[in-house]
Amino acid sequence: MVADPVIVVGAGPAGVRAAARLVAGGQRPIVLDEADRSGGQIYRRQPAHFTRPPEALYGSEAGKATALHAAFDALRPSIDYRPNTLAWGLYGGALLTLTDNAVARVPYRALILASGATDRIMPLPGWTVPGVFSLGGAQIALKAQACAIGARPVFLGTGPLLYLVAYQYKRAGVAVQAVLDTSRLSHRIKALGSLLTRPGVLAQGLRYTAWLLRAGVEIHTGVTPLAVDGEERVSGVRIRLHGGREQYFACDAVGLGYGLRSETQLADLAGCQFAFDPVARQWLPEIDADGRSTTPYVYLAGDGAMIRGADAAELSGRLAACAALRDLGEAVTEAELDGLRRQLAPMSRFRRGLEQAFPWPARLAAGLPDATVVCRCEAITAGDLRHAATTLEAPEVNRAKALSRVGMGSCQGRMCGLAAAEIVAAARGVDLAEVGRLRGQAPLKPLPISVTVP
């Protein structure tokens, strides 16, 4: 009997490096990738027929991107790569996948989850108007499709991606109207000590900001977002400036995002224990230093475990593969494990610095007008949620979901879940950790009704 294979979910920086280490350890892993080409989001490859050089797509990270792509291409004969494949369920030691409308049950001996992240979103009135996209989405439009989300976009939110995307758009010749950051400069100054653990990355961020200012792009920090205006499409953004004055920015698109959130649903289905992470204000799967979850033979790596960025993802992918190999009885030296752990340590400190410099604006949740749509899928408003949390006495988010349907739509709370938890906590006057987290449910993404599940 042939033993079940090791499965890696995701083909971004963490998944690729995990697969490479597994192959070096004598395995022939299955690599599941929801995209049609490897690279993940940050090192996403442009489609065939596109001709821009890597430097135009990935800027200062071009070398890392091309190295990762080359590493993956070299692995292809040694792995079972399944692109365009969604892992949507998990039970009984097997993943349930969907490829081109066909469902498969894929048993595993060990499972490495490198499922990445999406933008962390705080809703605001008008955010469902066509022309509002996530910051990550705005970057993908540019990188993978050579399109700008608008001719005169505003970028609103916080985090390193806010400045990076604005920089990339301006460099591409797009008339960026403003960069509006909810974080204050004082946050960044307090975070300096932690950020200096990776001086090169810090310097790069400062260079983007300086370049934007030189290029004449208006940057405001400490803002309070009020609304996106527009009917058929975006016509402007209203904010309150740090000093208290309201200001209107005419624009035809908005890139919106407040850092990233880990995609953790598969870990949830695998029965992994979660713990509240006060740094990210999110519930994350509990892992040890090498990426082992609380479920035997299930490992987490990359931003899907904790938001530490692409460099840490490569290291943690390799480390999780080492842990899996070791647990399967293969030899892995202590020196290799130690080396990887040592390289990851400053990245964890840097992550705390970033959360301090660009904090998730939890305070905005309590101030959202009742009529603000929180759940885009089913148009559930902040008022609906407050009603569930107070009048109907939902003590935590899953009860609030049952009563209001928030998080029950086709995105399963990926876009609204974190904000919904903040709204419920604020309405009940309790700590965020007390209202829990939305549990993952299979299927994790929509399936055609015609499929037969084995």
């Binding site: 929801e34 995209a35 049609d36 989001q41 442009q46 489609p47 065939a48 027929h49 596109f50 001709t51 821009r52 999406t118 933008d119 469902t128 066509p130 022309g131 509002v132 996209f133 996530s134 990550g136 989405g137 705005a138 993908i140 439009a141 540019l142 993978a144 499709q145 050579a146 399109c147 700008a148 989300i149 608008g150 001719a151 591409a172 010749g173 797009v174 058929e232 499409r233 035809d252 698109a253 995609e263 885009r376 899928c377 089913e378 148009a379 739509g409 086709s410 995105c411 990926r414 876009m415 993404k445 929509p446 055609p448």
Partner: protein, 100 residues
């Protein structure tokens, strides 16, 4: 009507012909359906809850906000579906609402 998206390069690609709401439309090889639709218009679908226009949000397959119908009644996630010749899609209402 001008679209939401603006192309900033990669214009030297072959053309692909599709049909959108009954009208012939030209896109470029390698376009996602989302990019093809939003470079010429401002919507992909209407919300089932309230009927307002939606045009996608995350572009990475997470938000499920860009599903469009084909005229044959299948659904496609526009941000992860490449265009191909002859694709016949519906953005206004659902496929069955267009059956005379």
């Amino acid at each position: 009507m001008a679209g939401l998206f603006h192309r900033v390069g990669e214009l030297a690609r072959n053309q692909v012909r599709l049909i959108v709401d009954g009208e012939p439309v030209t896109a470029l090889e390698g376009d996602t359906l989302l990019a093809a639709l939003l470079t010429r218009g401002c919507r992909l679908r209407q919300s089932e809850f309230g009927g307002d226009a939606r045009a996608g949000f995350c572009l990475m397959g997470a938000c499920q906000e860009c599903w469009v119908w084909t005229a044959a009644g299948e659904r496609m996630r526009a941000c992860s579906t490449p265009v191909r010749d002859g694709l016949n899609v519906v953005t206004a209402g659902t496929a069955w609402s267009l059956i005379p």
